[in-house]
């Protein structure tokens, strides 16, 4: 079995209200080094070693992410570099 790590974040330009709130929290704590925060989701999938990369891409595009708002990064130890997904249009 292989563990696939998927990180999903809002596309650049899409308002990340959660990220803004976290940034405000950091400011309140006195931090002035962080200029922007983006908050996303992290998903781990346990899959058979032989799973196809295109199957993982489809899972992201059809369900795990919403391609209208989000982009995703699939960290597959068998594939380098990382597979970065985004559907345009």
């Amino acid at each position: 079995m292989t563990t696939i790590r998927i990180t999903i974040t809002l596309k650049p330009g899409v308002l990340d209200a959660q990220g803004q709130a976290v940034l405000q929290g950091l400011r309140t704590l006195g931090d002035d080094q962080v200029s922007a925060v983006r908050v996303g989701r992290y998903i781990e999938l346990t899959v058979p070693d032989g799973i196809k990369g295109t199957d993982l891409d489809q899972m992201c595009e059809r369900f795990l992410a919403n391609p209208l708002l989000e982009e995703w990064r699939i960290d597959d130890p068998r594939r380098t570099p990382l597979s970065i997904g985004e559907r345009t249009g």
Binding site: L10, V14, A17, F63, N66, L68
Partner: protein
């Protein structure tokens, strides 16, 4: 007419919808479970508000893949009227039956208050008997109702009259102060190109009797009743 009200695990406005349709409007109502695969005999479908599957992954995302949604998709493609309220709207977006997506409310607050809506299109099953520009007062209750669509999609939707409701002030004017969640172009509700599928964040079922402060919500249900009885349609019949 016979309505189907779908319950997902975590729906919490389903009984309010059943009550309004059955007790206020005198219609037949079937409870539909998210695992059901048939909508036979139903004239219209309502997807109610709530927090289906705890909003896990994204609001509406898991419910949109429930067995019943294949049947809802087929019902919608055949021209059957479908209304998604609040979480039901989010489910229709996630199912691809309506365009766009939802973000968390601007300011991150869960907003629970009465708002004003301007009717932008009467070319839908659920607004046919309303007047363009008519102002309705309905309550909202959501944390994730900040409607979003990319600019090219918005342009197409405006051209196709797919924006059905916009947040406005009491006089029908658009203003950011009257937009409770930051929705792009003040959008509160949209429809599919055929106009039989409508989704909106405000709750018409919570404003269908004057004792509740507004009975404007009734107008949506009365519209679909009028459309259904005029056309004498079966669920498979076309609306337009």
């Amino acid at each position: 007419m016979r309505f189907g009200v779908v319950t997902f695990p975590g729906s919490n406005c389903d009984q309010d919808c059943v009550y309004v349709l059955r007790s206020v409007l005198g219609q037949d109502v079937d409870a539909v479970w998210h695992e059901d695969r048939s909508l036979d005999g139903l004239d219209a479908i309502v997807l109610p508000g709530g927090f289906a599957h705890g909003d896990y992954l994204r609001a509406g995302a898991i419910a949109a893949r429930a067995p019943v949604m294949s049947a809802v998709g087929a019902f919608a493609r055949a021209g059957g009227p479908v209304l998604g309220i609040c979480n039901g709207f989010q489910v229709l977006l996630e199912a691809g039956l309506l365009p766009g997506a939802m973000l968390r409310n601007q300011g991150l607050r869960f907003r629970c208050l009465p708002v004003f809506l301007r009717v932008e299109s009467t070319d839908t099953a659920w607004t046919k008997t309303l007047r363009e520009g008519q102002v309705l007062q309905l309550p909202i209750a959501h944390g994730e109702g900040n409607y979003f669509a990319p600019e090219p999609l918005l342009a197409t939707m405006e051209d196709e009259h797919q924006v059905v409701f916009r947040y406005c002030d009491a006089d029908g004017r658009l203003a950011s102060s009257a937009n409770p969640n930051g929705s792009v172009r003040h959008i509160a509700g949209v429809c599919n190109p055929a106009g039989n599928v409508v989704g909106l964040m405000p709750h018409p079922e919570r404003a269908s009797e004057s004792v509740l402060g507004s009975a404007d919500g009734r107008l949506l249900f009365e519209s679909v009743l009028s459309v259904l009885s005029t056309r004498r349609m079966s669920p498979a019949g076309a609306l337009r």
